[in-house]
């Protein structure tokens, strides 16, 4: 499968050219935003930084203070679905190039991805050390008053491996897996469990 290098911020053309199933290596500036930041931005708060084209990363990292700088210890993705109520609005207002997280998102986000030319990038949940290796430095931190995991961390990354699982053409790998598994589940529910073994 194709492995593409992309850099954040993404150009609108790049974002529109990515398709579900594409494997990418991300470099550049990415910005973390999880529950508190989403709620804040959705309720009229101003983003302290320009988000256009950037990758918005659903992540609550472990960061420690070392002398005058910050060091990222672990920074894997958090479940994106919790941001479903806010994400579409955020995409329309701030025009990020990609949303990155784990587990995928729902129909509202998918629609906004299509309208605005944005994609969803999936990272492996829990592979925190693996992901941390691609994080070069902390460039800035904003909204630290939300607590360390919930702040907006601007991170410089290089060659971070991700998978496109939702694209601007209306495709969602998550929706596909879910509908296939639903068919199988329906069959399984029909075959009863017998408490006696064959002996």
């Amino acid at each position: 499968m194709a492995l593409r290098q992309i850099s954040s911020p993404l150009s609108p053309e790049t974002a529109r050219s990515l398709k579900t199933g594409d494997r990418v290596l991300v470099s550049g500036r990415i910005v973390t935003a999880r529950d508190q930041v989403h709620k804040y931005l959705a309720s009229g708060g101003k983003s302290p930084i320009d988000l256009s084209g950037t990758i918005l990363y659903h992540c609550g990292p472990v960061v420690i203070r070392e002398d005058s700088s910050w060091r990222v210890i672990a920074a894997g993705p958090t479940t994106s679905m919790r941001e479903e109520p806010y994400e579409a609005g955020l995409i329309r207002t701030y025009h990020p190039g990609a949303i990155m997280g784990k587990g995928g998102m729902g129909q509202n986000t998918l629609k906004a991805l299509k309208e605005e030319g944005c994609v969803y990038l999936h990272l492996t949940g829990g592979a925190a050390s693996y992901i941390a290796r691609s994080i070069e430095s902390v460039e800035e931190v904003h909204l630290l008053e939300f607590g360390q995991p919930e702040a907006m961390w601007v991170l410089k990354v290089s060659n971070l491996p991700a998978l496109v699982t939702m694209d601007s053409f209306g495709n969602s790998l998550h929706a596909d897996v879910e509908s296939n598994s639903l068919q199988i589940l329906k069959e399984l529910l029909k075959t009863p469990f017998h408490r006696k073994s064959h002996s």
Partner: protein, 292 residues
Amino acid sequence: MEKSVLLSSLQNIIEKASTVLPEDIRRALEKSFTEEREASVAKDTLGMIIESAVCSKESTRPICQDTGSILAIIKSRPDESIILIEEAIHEAVKILTRNGILRQNCVDPVTGQNTGDNTGKHVPQIHFVPIDGPTTVSVMLKGGGSENVSTQYSLPDSSLEAGRDLDGVRKCILDAVFKAQGKGCSPGILGVCVGGDRASGYLLAKEMLFRRLDDENPCKILGKLEETVMEQANSLGIGPMGLGGRTTLLGVKIGNAGRHPASFFVTVSYSCWAVRRISAELDSEGRISEWL
């Protein structure tokens, strides 16, 4: 028991829990890796997980940045050492949070403030079980993403056509796996409690996650149910991280508790692959005498 000795033991136990993936889980992941199709997303994902766990262990970093909610179970004779152990857990948690081994995971729901040190009202959660034997401490760090997809059913459940029997239990568990999709960071491990009440069900289901993947259920019928559910769940095609594949679960552990005649709860505690559990025995000084 000696205060300073206990503190270093507890620090050791919790640090190891956060940074070293249990052997049985690692082996199960490796086995699944060989079973996934070549060049598939599932195989790639499992490869990444395994590599990440190795890297965490070597560099003493958390396996996952979500170092979870902390549950500790102390089993000991009911004497004053329990209080000392409890204090040592709190102290160890604060130190490890400062060192980046635990993330700041305790938020006051009323003020919205993060307490910053992983301690707070009922946090960490500590349970005491009086026994007449050597003192053991078991610690589990369970991720929020997987806790969020844990769930409880009350049988009968008409939407699943699940009755008050083990087949009904099976249907509930499969439904929970389906609903979780990849959101609990599959491949998952399920702790299940059949029976109990709403409160004990959740605790007992979570405690099932302390069982090793390769153990045998002392109850034959539940053992068979574990096997059946495991096989059926892995045929759903949800796969690692819900991106498709054969490995949806690494294990299913089912326990039971007596139920009220009017109630029949099935509680599913879903754990991500990064189940962080550890148990150790302490000697009379508070030193770790054995990893269990």
